[in-house]
Amino acid sequence: MRIIVDLNRCQSFGQCCFAAPDVFHFHNAEALEYDPAPDEARRWDVIRAAKACPVQAIQIGLDDEEYEGAQREKTHGRSYQ
């Protein structure tokens, strides 16, 4: 799954870190860091985190079907690593 946190909106309340500690954490105490592509097994935790966010900064995206089309059509495909 893919998610995004609007870090302009985020005020470091940290509720997401309690709801989904595998996905959200504070780096050096105050700066929220998160995994924008958490494991599908974490979906329920992430939903709880998004609902718990006091400023509603967490958005859960659709799946990646669109991008699979994009990858097929790319012209000068080169992949890193």
Binding site: R2, I3, I4, D6, L7, N8, C10, Q11, S12, F13, H27, N28, A29, E30, A31, L32, E33, D35, P36, A37, Q59, I60, G61, L62, D64, E66, Y67, G69, A70, Q71, E73, K74, T75, H76, G77, R78, S79, Y80, Q81
Partner: protein, 452 residues
């Protein structure tokens, strides 16, 4: 009436050049607002849109795999994606974009969201030394991250702007020796002014950064194996380095437009409040819109001396893209204006920094709230007695109240009666360089595009 396209002007083919944050969010907004026609996204990188802010933070530090940065989608696009091939030329008369591989794409409406690229090290031979990197895209982040993981002995960061400071912060997280070389008196002086920059300088030294200000890197030196081994500075100093991160700002990706009649130069593409591109005479080009880092427009809050504003921040790409998309599908009486306040965040050296407004136009700055030992504080910027911006350091929960002050251009210094405020507000000179830093290009700086 939102969601309804004016059928008189309904376009059939919309092309978005630039498949990063602004391009993607514009595409989503077009579909959300009911555009049913053919939608094409053109991107010079081979990857689907990805999020750049983590590149200079988690990805660089090896805490996040780069594949995870692909941007979440919130709307089915059913778009045609042309990735890995840059646009080479724009033919406005034929309404056609020509690609580098010889193909062409016709459009009714065009959105230009080509963004910026890293300013390269000026000497090509030195730039090709093993160990010299720029940091802008996914590939760069992978390369630098992989090199930092080999534990280089000394990292040189050329440029003390956001990217340079964030990269240096990651180096310290990893326990690596790092030197920042910055031409101004303090790091981040171009974006925060030298008064607040002084606080950042102390913070960086506390974190073990070797901070070398008032100088620029003049020469990168390689050994016989073409590996970087050191650098010469303009003040005569020299230092050893086996990695150099060149963080000298960004260049706007406009060279493919230089043969058009659009109002475009190295500072960006001029558009109006509705994101419509202007031609060289200042007239609106009805079917060409601009969004993101590459746009310059007259922000009503900051239109001093008719200056145009270009904002290279994440939030602006999102907001301007949505407005451009809306206006593209709307009759003029339903146009929206792009008047959102500039906002940014950065995390470095244990500070979570958040800004609202435009600090760079300020003449004074005052610390309005502060904890013991400056572990968290908020700085407010003023221009000629009006509040123009606020920046919080580990105090983001305070920022929304300051946003109101900025929107209202409240008197400066503001009278807050905050429990953690000083007894008497003592504004200091903000200390921005007289020649604007290219981070916020206010149109004052003579600055030309270097043709690649």
């Amino acid at each position: 009436m939102a969601g309804h396209i004016n059928e008189m002007i309904a376009p059939e083919r919309i092309v978005i050049v630039g498949a990063s944050l602004a391009g993607l969010r514009a595409a989503e907004a077009l579909r959300r607002e009911g555009f049913m026609g053919q939608l094409t996204l053109i991107g010079d990188e081979p990857y689907p849109p990805y999020d750049r802010p983590p590149l200079s933070k988690q990805v660089l530090g090896g805490r996040l795999a780069v594949e995870h940065t692909t941007l979440a989608l919130f709307q089915r696009l059913e778009a045609q994606w042309l990735l890995g091939v840059p646009a080479r030329r724009l033919d406005l008369a034929k309404r056609r974009v020509l690609l580098a591989d010889g193909r062409s794409v016709d459009f009714d409406y065009l959105l230009i969201a080509t963004g910026t690229c890293a300013r390269p090290w000026p000497d090509a031979e030195e730039a090709a030394l093993d160990g010299v990197f720029v940091l802008r895209n996914r590939d760069h982040a992978c390369q630098v991250s992989a090199r930092l993981a080999t534990r280089p002995r000394h990292v040189l960061v050329a440029g003390g702007g956001f990217i340079g400071c964030e990269a240096a912060s990651v180096c310290r997280d990893l326990g690596l020796d790092v030197t920042i070389v910055e031409r101004g008196p303090t790091p981040l002086g171009g974006v925060l002014g030298s008064t607040i920059g002084q606080i950042m300088a102390q913070r960086q030294r506390d974190y073990g950064v070797y901070l070398h200000t008032g100088a620029v890197v003049t020469t990168l030196q390689g050994n016989q194996d073409h590996r970087l081994c050191g650098a010469q500075l303009s003040d005569g100093c020299s230092l050893e380095a086996d990695v150099a991160i060149i963080a000298l700002g960004a260049i706007r990706n406009v060279e493919w437009l230089l043969n058009t009649d659009l109002s475009v130069d190295g500072r960006g593409i001029v558009c109006d409040l509705y994101c419509r591109a202007l031609d060289s005479q200042g007239a609106v080009v009805e079917n060409v819109f601009v969004a993101g880092d590459v746009a310059r427009w007259p922000h009503p809050l900051y239109a001093y001396d008719h200056q145009l504003l270009a904002v290279e921040h994440w939030g602006n790409a999102v907001e301007q893209a949505a407005i451009a998309a809306h206006n593209m599908l709307s009759p003029s009486f339903e146009y929206r204006r792009h008047t959102a306040l500039p906002r940014f965040w950065s995390s470095q050296f244990g500070f979570n920094m958040k800004s609202v407004g435009l600090p760079t136009v300020a003449d004074e700055v005052v610390i309005t709230q502060c904890s013991f030992g400056m572990r968290r504080f908020t700085a407010v910027y003023g221009r000629q007695g009006q509040t123009v911006a606020a920046v919080s350091f580990n105090a983001g929960q305070m920022l929304p109240s300051y946003q109101t002050l900025v929107e209202q251009a409240a008197p400066f210094p503001p009278d807050l009666h905050a429990a953690d405020g000083p007894a008497r507000a003592q504004p200091m000179p903000a200390g921005f360089p007289a020649q604007g830093h290219p981070k916020y290009d206010t149109g004052m700086e003579p600055y030309t595009v270097s043709q690649p």
